[in-house]
């Protein structure tokens, strides 16, 4: 009887999870849908707790309380600008849980697991372990605990490949001889190392792709858990998770027009290695906040192009303020969102949403690119690569072929950045040297605040 109740809760939970993710296809239904998913989660937990196997609750309650205490601030306090590392670290937790469950399974049954279950547990701990360390490294790089630079050394790939090969051999051996605990635990150790070495050579800016990849690994790990302990809701959630991570990493690579290999082995994002053109001879025109404000005040259509810099400066609220002032002065404002602006998919959207910018003002690249001709001013706020014309016309450029926003087609271009430093791709951007471009140097937040005060006086 109880058994049936448990099973029903799992089935219902699975349905609610699917409906929850499905609701994310429309902004209006999204929130409600995810609340249902949360209910599904609670159901599944209750369904588990009533099972016969569960005889002592002390540690369970302890874990739930401790987890909640840590979880709430992670949910409420983390600023939107820190989402990438926030997501990286949560992959670590997920993978940790999966791996430990796998280890417990092995600890309890060891040899009796039999080959099939052993294979499942093996997958579980393999993917789990390398996701733990991999995600932690990604977190560290994004949080700048570890250097964001790509750490490379001679024979690196050789080392990684051997590591990988050995681990696979051990895995194969275990499927035949599940009883050999030494192999099992050393396999986990190696997997943990693989995680570290895999992420080490990847530049901090490439982390988002890596994170999504790890996301799908974490998914596969929990799916494997489902196979090991014979639980469908785990398999389903894992599969959904895996699909999501996989598809998002593809989306990103596409929008950056690069291949996985390139991301994983390319050691891209290590600026010095790739800088192609240098700005020798070219000169830029800088502009004062006052003049910029005047331009904006008399513009009919202003297209705002936010980029990673806006995130760094946490300037989204000032952006909204400025936009409102421009509208007061009778101008129209649109936001042009490049698929890989910022450092994670949807980064700009969520930041601007936080600043209460209604999402129907945000236009995808294809929707807006035609309109730049009409725009009097393209206001570029901490964006760089996503408006770099080199992607169109410089075959030698590492970002050649990447679809970009046609900001250079606007009548005037105003760029907010702090210096002449390059962006993520570490390359010069001709746009900044274009005659119609003028740069307003300084931290985006500061510059925007100046612009706002100036606008008020205009």
């Amino acid at each position: 009887m109880r058994e049936i109740f448990t099973q029903v809760t799992y089935l219902v939970a699975s349905v609610l999870f699917i409906l929850g993710l499905r609701s994310l296809t429309k902004p209006d239904t999204a929130r409600r849908g995810m609340q249902y998913a949360a209910i599904g989660m609670l159901l599944a937990i209750v369904g588990t707790l009533v099972q016969h196997e569960i005889v002592r609750y002390d540690w369970i309650i302890g874990g739930l309380i401790l987890g909640t205490i840590i979880g709430i601030p992670l949910g409420t306090q983390v600023p939107m600008t820190a989402m990438p590392q926030r997501i990286a670290i949560s992959h670590m937790f997920g993978a940790l849980a999966a791996t430990l469950v796998g280890i417990a399974e092995y600890w309890l049954h060891g040899a009796e697991l039999g080959s099939a279950k052993m294979a499942a547990v093996g997958f579980e701990v393999l993917f789990g372990a390398l996701t733990i360390t991999g995600s932690f490294m990604a977190f560290g790089k994004l949080q700048e605990i570890i250097t964001g630079r790509a750490v490379t050394y001679k024979g690196q790939n050789a080392v990684n490949i051997t590591l990988f090969g050995v681990t696979l051999l051990m895995f194969g051996y275990l499927i035949v001889h599940p009883e050999n605990a030494v192999v099992f635990y050393s396999m986990i150790a190696l997997a943990l190392m693989i995680g570290v070495f895999m992420v080490l050579p990847i530049g901090g800016a490439d982390m988002p792709v890596v994170i999504s990849l790890l996301n799908s690994y974490a998914g596969l790990a929990s799916a494997a858990t489902g196979f090991a302990i014979g639980n469908n809701v785990l398999i389903i959630a894992g599969a959904l998770d895996g699909a999501s991570g996989f598809i998002l990493s593809i989306v990103m690579s596409k929008a950056m027009n690069r291949s996985f290999q390139n991301v994983i082995f390319g050691a891209f994002g290590a600026a010095p290695t790739v800088s192609t053109k240098t700005a020798s001879g070219l000169s830029v025109r800088s502009i004062s906040a006052e003049d910029a404000a005047i331009q904006l005040a008399y513009a009919k259509l202003v297209i705002i192009v936010p980029g990673y810099g806006m995130a760094v400066a946490q300037a989204q609220h000032q952006v909204r303020e400025l936009a409102e002032l421009i509208e007061k002065k009778g101008g129209e404002v649109k936001y042009a969102i490049h698929p890989v602006a910022g450092r994670m998919p949807g980064h700009m959207n969520v930041l601007l949403a936080e600043a209460n910018v209604p999402y129907d003002r945000l236009y995808d690249m294809d929707e807006i690119n035609g309109e730049f001709e009409r725009a009097d001013v393209a206001l570029i706020i901490g964006a760089n690569d996503v408006v770099n014309p080199a992607a169109r016309n410089d075959k030698s450029s590492p970002i050649y072929g990447m679809p970009i926003l046609n900001a250079d087609k606007a009548q005037n271009v105003i760029v907010l950045k702090r210096s002449m430093n390059p962006g993520f791709a570490g390359i010069e951007n001709e746009l900044f040297y274009n005659d119609k471009t003028s740069l307003l140097f300084g931290d985006a937040k500061a510059s925007l605040s100046k612009l706002v005060t100036e606008m008020k006086t205009v």
């Binding site: 995810m34 369970i60 840590i70 849980a97 014979g230 785990l234 999402y359």
Partner: protein, 111 residues
């Protein structure tokens, strides 16, 4: 490989299809919430952790289970909360002047 094994393969295969079809239709607008949403859902590994922690099969299993429960709970609580926090921010009609809890976290938003 036994029959249940195959059953599980079916479930995985079908779930992967469903996932693929759903995710490919999530607009870029919501890609960040999507990431945190899948995080939250992946916390379902709790069902495994709870058994390990509660079925009193030796201290090792219990401790491993305890840590697993903690980790999974962090994802569950943190994941659902932050997803909801984000989704609450996405609005269609022009921003309203009234202070809203999510934005209130950042003073500027209240302007």
């Amino acid at each position: 490989m036994n029959l249940t094994g195959f059953m599980q393969l079916y479930v995985f295969m079908l779930a992967a299809f469903v996932g693929y079809q759903i995710i490919t239709r999530v607009p870029p607008l919501l890609h960040t919430p999507l990431m945190s949403a899948t995080n939250a859902i992946s916390a379902i590994s709790l069902v495994g952790s709870l058994v390990a922690a509660g079925s009193d099969r030796g201290m090792v299993s219990t401790i491993l289970g305890f840590v697993a429960v903690t980790a999974a709970t962090i994802n569950m609580v943190g994941g659902f909360v932050i997803t909801d926090r984000m989704l609450k921010m996405f609005r269609r009609e022009p921003a309203t002047p009234k202070v809203d809890p999510a934005a209130a976290a950042k003073p500027e938003a209240t302007k």
